[in-house]
C-alpha cells in the first residue's frame, strides 16, 4: 500500500501550490423551453437553474466541505465535476489540465477522480459480488483478473471488511454500513487522487456513521487523498473539512476556512443554517426559527441576491443587484452586498477611495 501511495503522489504535475481541481463559471440548467425569437432568443425559459455560475478551487490534500439545502445545486456540482452530466458552460481543470481535452481525456480523468453516493444499495450492481464490484474498474482499465482481484481483496480489508468473509457476498447480503465500505473500496480501486463524497454517510445510522467517518479520515491520510465532502449535516462537515463552501439556489454564498466560517459566518444564510442546528442543551432550546418558509424554487429564482426573499437584513438594493463573491481577506469570500463596499446596502462600508 505504501507503493500505492507513492504511485498516487507520482502523478502530481503542478506541485502543491497548483489546485488539484479548479472549477470556473460552471452552469447547468435542466429542462425548460428555448425561446424562438425576441431579445432572449436561445435562452431557456422555465429551466431549473441548478448550478448558475459556480467557481471554486480544491487544493491538494485538503477536504472541501460543501453544504446547502435541497435544490442548492451541491449534488449537481459533483455530477458535473465527475462528467456524469455535461455542463452548459464553464470549465473544470484538473491539476492544470482542462478535463475532456486531448491532454486529459475522460478515461484518464476518471482514474483520478472517483465518487461515493448516498444510496449505498442503488450504487452497487446487485449481480456482482463484493470482489467483482471492486475489481471491475481495474479490469476495465486493463489489469489482469488475478491482479485486479488481489487489489480488490487488499482494498476490502483496508475499508475494514474481512475478505475471507465478504469477498464472495452480494450487496443484499450486507448491511448499509458494510455496503458503503464496499462503495468506498470501489472508488479507491483506480487509485484516484480526488474523492467526491456526496452525502456518503447521510443514510447510515449514527453509530455506523462515526465508524465510516473515522475510516474516511484514515484512508485520506494513508493514500494522500483529496476530498470533496458534500453533506447537509453541519456537524459532520465540521468534523471532516478544512474549508467549507456554502451554496444557495445554484450559487456560492460563502466559502472559507471551516473554523472561520462556522465561528464567524458573514453571509446571513450561513448564519441561519448554523442557528437552525438543533441545540444540544435541554435548557437552551431554540426559541425562534432563524428563517421562515422553504427554499424558493430554482426554476424561477428571486432576482438580485437569491436569498433576499428570506433574509432579515435585506434592503431594497438586494432585490436589484446580484452580489459578487467578494474577497474579505484570509481566503474568505462571501456573496453578500453587506460585505461589498459601496454596494448601496445600508450596512455596507462606503466605497474605498
Amino acid at each position: 500500500m505504501d507503493q500505492l501511495r507513492t504511485d498516487i503522489a507520482s502523478r502530481d504535475r503542478g506541485g502543491p501550490a497548483q489546485p488539484l481541481l479548479a472549477v470556473r463559471d460552471l452552469v447547468k440548467h435542466f429542462g425548460g423551453r428555448r425561446a424562438w425569437g425576441g431579445a432572449k432568443a436561445g435562452a431557456r425559459r422555465g429551466a431549473v437553474r441548478a448550478v448558475d455560475g459556480v467557481s471554486f478551487d480544491v487544493a491538494k490534500g485538503e477536504t472541501l466541505g460543501i453544504v446547502g439545502e435541497s435544490g442548492c445545486g451541491k449534488s449537481t456540482v459533483a455530477r458535473l465535476i465527475m462528467q456524469i452530466i455535461a455542463a452548459d458552460a464553464g470549465e473544470v481543470v484538473f491539476d492544470g489540465e482542462a478535463v475532456g481535452t486531448r491532454a486529459l481525456d475522460l478515461t484518464t480523468y476518471r482514474r483520478e477522480v472517483q465518487m461515493v453516493f448516498q444510496d449505498s444499495y442503488a450504487s452497487l450492481n446487485p449481480r456482482l459480488t463484493v470482489e467483482d464490484t471492486v475489481a471491475f474498474g481495474p479490469r476495465v482499465h486493463g489489469l489482469a483478473r488475478r491482479a485486479a482481484i488481489a487489489r480488490a481483496h487488499d482494498l476490502i480489508s483496508r475499508v475494514g471488511l474481512d475478505p475471507a468473509r465478504f469477498a464472495a457476498r452480494y450487496p443484499h447480503e450486507l448491511s448499509g454500513g458494510q455496503r458503503q465500505r464496499v462503495n468506498i473500496a470501489r472508488a479507491l480501486a483506480l487509485q484516484p487522487r480526488l474523492l467526491i463524497l456526496d452525502e456518503a454517510v447521510s443514510a447510515l445510522d449514527k453509530s455506523i456513521e462515526a465508524q465510516v467517518l473515522n475510516l474516511l479520515v484514515d484512508l485520506k491520510a494513508a493514500f494522500g487523498l483529496t476530498y470533496m465532502f458534500i453533506s447537509h449535516d453541519l456537524n459532520v462537515v465540521r468534523f471532516m473539512s478544512d474549508r467549507v463552501m456554502v451554496m444557495y439556489l445554484g450559487k456560492v454564498a460563502e466559502v472559507g476556512a471551516c473554523d472561520v466560517i462556522l465561528r464567524d459566518p458573514r453571509h446571513p444564510y450561513t448564519a441561519a443554517l448554523l442557528a437552525s442546528m438543533p441545540s444540544m442543551d435541554p435548557d437552551r432550546r431554540t426559541t425562534e426559527a432563524p428563517l421562515f418558509g422553504d427554499p424558493p424554487n430554482p426554476i424561477d429564482p428571486p432576482s438580485g441576491c437569491r436569498f433576499h426573499t428570506r433574509c432579515k437584513l435585506a434592503a431594497p438594493v438586494c432585490a436589484a443587484t446580484a452580489p459578487p463573491l467578494a474577497d474579505i481577506g484570509a481566503a474568505h469570500r462571501v456573496a453578500c452586498l453587506m460585505a461589498t463596499p459601496g454596494s448601496g446596502h445600508p450596512q455596507a462600508a462606503p466605497e474605498a477611495a
Partner: protein, 331 residues
C-alpha cells in the same frame, strides 16, 4: 399539569413478533411506556431498534396477520388490542393521530388537501361539509400555511416539503386527538425547515395540551422537543429519563456511546470520533443476554447470560444495565 390524572398512554410489556419471514422476528421485546396528558416523550433509536414498530402498535397499523402484538396497550381508557374494527376507526383520529416522515406518501395525491381534511372531520364528527371546510381553513392557519384559503385547493404535489409537512400536521389534528404520534416527521426536511416544524409542533403541543410520542434517530431533535427521552436498542428501552438527565448524565453504555460518537462542536480537529464498534444485532438471532453486550466495552460475563433488569439511576431515570448499582453507574 394535573398531577392526579392517570397516564393517557399506558403500555406494559409490549411485544411485537413478525411472522412470515424465514424466521419469526421479535421487533419489540417488552416495552413499558407511560405518558401523561400534555407530556412529550422522544423515542430515540437507530433503524431496527423497534421505535417505529412501537408507534404503529399503538395505532394498530401493523398487518394483523403477520404481526402479533402482546402485552398491555391502553390509550385513554381504550384497550387497543381488543378494539373492534368499528371502534378502531373512531379511535384513530379522535383519540390518537399520527404524522409520518414522508408527507408525500402519507397524503392522498388525487384529493385536494382541504377536501382530505374536511372528509376526516365530517366522517368523525358528522358535521356539514361547509363546517368541515371551515375547520380545515382554521387548521391551515393554525399550522401557519401562508395564504391558507388558497392552499386548501392545492394537491400535495403542489406544495414544498415543509408546507406538505404542515398540511399533514393539520390533517392529524383535524379531529382534536389527545395523543399525537410523530414518526421522524422532520428527518426528510432541510435544516432551516426542520427547526420551523419542530417549533410549530412544540407550540401546538403546548396550546392543545397534546401528549406526543416523537420517534427520532437524532439526539439534537429529541433535545429540542422532548420532556422525557427513552432510548431504544434491539426492541427494548435501555434507558429512560428526563431529557436533561439522559443528555447530561447518560447511564447506559449505548447512550453514552451515541452521545460521544456525535461529530459535535466540542471536537478538536483531527481527532477521531469515539465510534461504537460493531453493528446492531440481527433481530432474528438476538443474544440471550443484553443485546448491546457484543458492542459494549464494559461487558462482563453476566451480561451474556440474562437481560439486565431495569433499575433506577435517579428520579424517574432508569436504565437496563448491570453497571447501575445502588442508583449510580459503577466506575
Amino acid at each position: 399539569m394535573s398531577g392526579a390524572s392517570g397516564p393517557i398512554v399506558d403500555v406494559e410489556n409490549l411485544t411485537v413478533d413478525f411472522h412470515g419471514g424465514p424466521k419469526p422476528l421479535r421487533a419489540v421485546a417488552g416495552v413499558d411506556l407511560t405518558l401523561r396528558p400534555g407530556e412529550v416523550l422522544a423515542l430515540l433509536g437507530e433503524s431496527g431498534s423497534g421505535k417505529s414498530v412501537t408507534l404503529r402498535a399503538l395505532m394498530r397499523l401493523l398487518p394483523e396477520r403477520r404481526a402479533v402484538i402482546g402485552g398491555k396497550v391502553v390509550v385513554d381508557g381504550n384497550d387497543v388490542r381488543a378494539l373492534s374494527k368499528r371502534d378502531l376507526t373512531a379511535y384513530r383520529g379522535r383519540t390518537i393521530a399520527m404524522i409520518f416522515q414522508e408527507p408525500g406518501l402519507a397524503l392522498d395525491p388525487v384529493y385536494r388537501l382541504g377536501d382530505q381534511i374536511a372528509e376526516a372531520v365530517m366522517r368523525h364528527e358528522g358535521v356539514s361539509r361547509s363546517a368541515a371546510r371551515d375547520r380545515a381553513l382554521m387548521l391551515f392557519e393554525r399550522v401557519r400555511i401562508p395564504s391558507a384559503a388558497r392552499r386548501l385547493d392545492n394537491y400535495a404535489h403542489e406544495m414544498s416539503g415543509g408546507m406538505r409537512q404542515r398540511a399533514m400536521i393539520a390533517l392529524a389534528l383535524a379531529c382534536r386527538p389527545k395523543v399525537l404520534l410523530a414518526d421522524e416527521p422532520t428527518t426528510a426536511l432541510d435544516a432551516t425547515v426542520q427547526i420551523q416544524v419542530l417549533l410549530l409542533l412544540r407550540e401546538l403541543q403546548r396550546e392543545l395540551g397534546l401528549a406526543v410520542i416523537f420517534v427520532t434517530h437524532d439526539i439534537g431533535v429529541a433535545t429540542e422537543i422532548a420532556d422525557r427521552i427513552a432510548v431504544m436498542y434491539a426492541g427494548r428501552i435501555v434507558e429512560t429519563g428526563q431529557c436533561r438527565d439522559v443528555i447530561r448524565t447518560p447511564a447506559h453504555p449505548y447512550t453514552v456511546g451515541l452521545l460521544a460518537s456525535r461529530a459535535g462542536s466540542t471536537l478538536a480537529k483531527g481527532e477521531r470520533l469515539a465510534a461504537i464498534p460493531g453493528a446492531p444485532p440481527d433481530l432474528a438471532n438476538l443474544p440471550a443476554g443484553c443485546a448491546f453486550a457484543p458492542r459494549c466495552e464494559r461487558a462482563q460475563a453476566v451480561c451474556e447470560s440474562a437481560v439486565p433488569a431495569e433499575v433506577a439511576v435517579g428520579d424517574g431515570h432508569r436504565a437496563r444495565c448491570v453497571l447501575v448499582q445502588g442508583g449510580e453507574v459503577v466506575a
